[in-house]
């Protein structure tokens, strides 16, 4: 029973050993291949291989035109003949190839390919960057030969420009005249203010004081006008006051100038009498100091002032008819004081 159980286990472990051994042999064989030739037996090129299959594939460039200006496009077509799988061939990306750095490569869409087509055509637009470009660069083209034995010979290569170069004449880019466009705008826009005024002061904006001045200006002007008008056209009271003040002024002036007169005392007396007659309705008969004082009292002049006025005339009479040591100056001062006191009554 135990033998029956252990038999399959032994068999499976033997099978496992054989399998491992076989794998080791295979790996060893494969490794020897790599070390011997440097590459695997099923080598497939990493570059310039575009999945084309065939026994004798040929590639060539078709370039139109042969002369071009710098920066202008050339119509370049890669023609592949002899391929057995036209629909599977990958279009070479020339923009990624270093040899084509001297061109600006523009991809152009191609026509749909037919599986039975004898040739495949890939179109490009190449614009040379400088006049140093003399031809379309050679393109190396690996393909797969399905009848070749496995190994490097399974992927032969061909190239364009094999028999003939594809010469190019690249000319300097023609100088394009820049279109000159006039700046169109309303004529007023072309006028600019000049001079210091451009950075002058800002527009005047009245502040609070300016508004206050405007408010006060009207009433002040009106009041001034009113005062001037009242001065030009005074009323009766004012007229009387002006008249009175005029008489007093005249009398005072005369008293002050009396010392220049031949008879200063008489001049003072006359000045005071003239003032009294202009200011008070004295009787014509009142000529003596007592009569004048009496008339003034009757006209409601205070007795003291009336007597002071009478004294002025008495002193004048004394000075004229009985000259004493009194000089004209004290006399004039007394007369002026009397006039001033009378004027203050008005």
């Amino acid at each position: 029973m135990s033998d029956e159980l252990t038999q399959p286990k032994k068999r499976s472990s033997r099978l496992r050993r054989v399998t491992v051994l076989a794998c080791l042999v295979l790996i060893t064989q494969y490794a020897s291949l790599i070390t011997a030739q440097g590459q695997p037996a099923f080598f497939e090129p990493t570059e310039h291989y575009y999945k084309a299959k065939g026994r004798g594939i040929a590639v060539r460039w078709e370039v139109e035109p042969k002369a071009v200006h710098v920066g202008r496009d050339l119509a370049v077509t890669l023609v592949i003949t002899g391929a057995q799988n036209p629909t599977e061939i990958v279009k070479p990306d020339l923009g990624k190839l270093k040899a084509f750095d001297q061109f600006v490569v523009t991809a152009v869409s191609d026509l749909p390919r037919d599986a039975s087509a004898k040739e495949v055509r890939f179109a490009y637009k190449l614009a040379p960057r400088s006049t140093d470009v003399k031809q379309v660069p050679t393109l190396q083209f690996f393909y797969s030969n399905p009848v070749a034995a496995p190994g490097p010979k399974q992927f032969p290569s061909t190239r364009t420009n094999r028999d003939v170069d594809a010469p190019l004449t690249v000319l300097e880019a023609p100088k394009v005249e820049r279109p000159i466009v006039r700046l169109e705008a309303p004529e007023s826009l072309f006028r600019a203010a000049t001079g210091r005024g451009v950075i002058g002061s800002e527009p005047f904006v009245p502040r609070r004081w300016a508004w206050l001045a405007a408010v006060l200006f009207g009433p002040l002007m009106a009041f001034g006008w009113f005062l001037a008008w009242r001065r030009v056209f005074p009323d009766a009271v004012q007229l009387a006051r002006m008249r009175r003040s005029r008489a007093a002024r005249r009398a005072t002036d005369a008293i002050r100038k009396a010392h220049r007169a031949p008879d200063p005392v008489a001049a003072v007396a006359n000045a005071v009498l003239g003032y009294l007659r202009a200011r008070f309705p004295l009787r014509d008969a009142a000529v003596t100091p007592s009569e004048i004082a009496a008339d003034l009292k009757e006209l409601n002049v205070p007795e003291e002032i009336a007597e002071q006025v009478g004294d002025v005339f008495r002193v004048c009479d004394r000075a004229r008819f009985a000259p004493s040591g009194d000089n004209g100056l004290s006399l004039a001062a007394g007369a002026e004081a009397a006039v001033a006191r009378l004027e203050s009554l008005a």
């Binding site: 466009v181 700046l183 169109e184 072309f190 002061s201 527009p203 200006f217």
Partner: protein
């Protein structure tokens, strides 16, 4: 050697044209601006050469404005230089800057109307209705504060003179005269008050100028649909409401609200 000489000339020319804006006197900057503007005018037959000259002039005028020279003449020069340099939005913004200082200036109003007419709104449609700014003509746009000061002072003077005439003549007609001028003064004051309130309401939101054709959207991302078609033209005037994530919520003059990228606007005005 020839190349070196050309390089040296370029460096000198660059500093001659650009340096004045930095640290020079206002007179120097003004002189450079005027020279650049005159150069642009002289070269106007070739717009490709003339525009950079006007752009240089605009930079110098901007510098003067930044330094606080806020005169209507400078505003006009600044706006014209920007417009001739091909930058209509900045031209409009310059006029609004000026109107914030002198909104009564008639030349500035005319210039703004002209600039607004160059903004490429559709001939008709909702965008035109919503987007075109409305002309506001109030007492504040027709009369400067200085004019108002002179006029109101004169009217007040007439009223006071009427009172004096009445005192002189005792003729009641003079009281009617006084009443007329007092009413006129009151009306002028009321108009100014109303204008000040209206202005306060209108200008409570910042004014923004659209610098590139941009779609007004319903939200602050390009995934949101357009609020209105077609796109707002450059030079359109909008009021800013709020900002979020590089977008600004704006209101068109017609009242429509939407979002535009922050990079597509410049601020201006008060």
């Amino acid at each position: 050697m020839n190349g070196l000489a050309r390089l040296a000339f370029s460096v000198v020319a660059f500093f001659c044209s650009a340096a004045p804006a930095f640290g020079s006197s206002p007179e120097d900057i003004l002189a450079f601006a005027e020279r650049a503007f005159a150069e642009g005018v002289a070269l106007r037959d070739d717009s490709e050469i003339a525009k950079p000259a006007f752009a240089r002039a605009a930079v110098h005028y901007d510098e003067l404005w930044e330094r606080g020279y806020h005169t209507p003449d400078l505003v006009l020069n600044r706006s014209r230089a920007h417009r001739l340099a091909g930058d209509l939005p900045r031209g409009i913004a310059a006029i609004h800057d000026g109107l914030a200082v002198a909104r009564f200036s008639r030349p500035l109003q005319v210039e703004l109307d002209d600039a607004r007419a160059r903004v490429l709104y559709p001939i008709e449609g909702e965008l035109t209705t919503q987007g075109r700014p409305r002309q506001v003509r109030t007492v504040g746009t027709r009369m400067s504060p200085a004019d108002a000061w002179v006029v109101s002072g004169f009217v007040w003077l007439l009223a006071c003179a009427g009172v004096v005439r009445f005192a002189m003549t005792r003729n009641a007609l003079w009281l009617v005269f006084v009443a007329f001028w007092v009413i006129a003064l009151g009306s002028l004051g009321a108009l100014w008050l109303q204008d000040a309130r209206q202005r306060e309401r209108d200008e409570s939101l910042p004014l923004l100028i659209v610098t590139a054709d941009v779609t007004l959207r319903k939200g602050n991302a390009t995934e949101y649909p357009a609020r209105i078609e077609p796109a707002l033209p450059k030079g359109a005037e909008v009021r800013g409401l709020s900002r979020r994530g590089g977008w600004v919520q704006v209101q068109l003059p017609g009242g429509m609200i939407g979002w535009i990228p922050e990079a597509a606007i410049i601020p201006c005005g008060p």
